[in-house]
Symmetry: C2
Subunit: 151 residues, 2 copies
């Protein structure tokens, strides 16, 4: 999915809900799609402050992030560090995460067999599965290495 198409999706999403396309929304939206890394609300606010463009307040950052999440443009991930991070989702497929608590690195992975088992588990307990969050925590290769024999 190319950027133009995503832009159109966003525009039509706003229109369909009679929401307004403001400069700050546009800026936040673009910035979220400009990075392929995970970012927090605070990080995004910092970008808004240091990069040039129309002024964006902290409140608007939070509000727009929620909006983008509801619209399915971004997804949130609770890393467990008390901070929620986001990633854009269009053009991506679903995936889960491996997190290194030492360096904060986040890797993505796909494992359809796990997804399948999840559906089975939910069904067997009478739940209608709506979503899931799977985080694997562990030391990544480079942290393990830099620790030498001490880790």
């Amino acid at each position: 999915m190319n950027q133009t198409l995503i832009d159109q999706k966003f525009e039509s999403y706003l229109r369909s809900r009679s929401l307004k396309l403001t400069p700050q929304r546009w800026r936040i939206f673009e910035r979220a799609f400009a990075t392929h890394k995970h970012f927090s609300a605070e990080q995004l606010y910092a970008w808004m402050a240091e990069e040039e463009g129309p002024k964006v307040s902290r409140a608007t950052v939070y509000r727009t992030l929620s909006l983008l999440e509801e619209g399915g443009f971004i997804e949130s991930l609770d890393t467990g560090g008390g901070e929620i991070v986001y990633e854009h989702v269009l053009g991506h497929g679903h995936h889960d995460h491996l997190i290194c608590p030492d360096c904060g690195r986040i890797c993505e992975f796909r494992e359809p067999r796990i997804e399948k088992l999840q559906r089975e588990v939910a069904r067997s307990q009478g739940f209608t599965l709506e979503s899931h969050s799977l985080r694997l925590m562990g030391r990544c290769a480079s942290c393990a290495e830099s620790l030498g024999d001490l880790g």
Copy 2:
């Protein structure tokens, strides 16, 4: 594992770290093991306030909860609702959770096949798996029912 044995573990854990066995620690510890449900720090503090026994402050609740978690006596679970809940762990086996966002119900399940796949995934990405958190979110049977055809 019976209660007496757990008590001993706690005592020896404290001793091994030259920590003191205070009335409030004991009370919190006992209360955490007296319930088989998940509870939040705030909930536990409320219990301390309404049930009788030595006075326990909020700060001590939080401090002791961390202590118990470090010692492996309890485990924390982020339900995604901005609140962390705990459950005691001794005598339990490892398990993951199904959470109903509507009523807050939390169910436990075990699925060794998922665990196995997780280890494979981590290994394949060069991570040393230390822990994981898997939450399945979905509507539980009774919430689905009470919604009728509206959900």
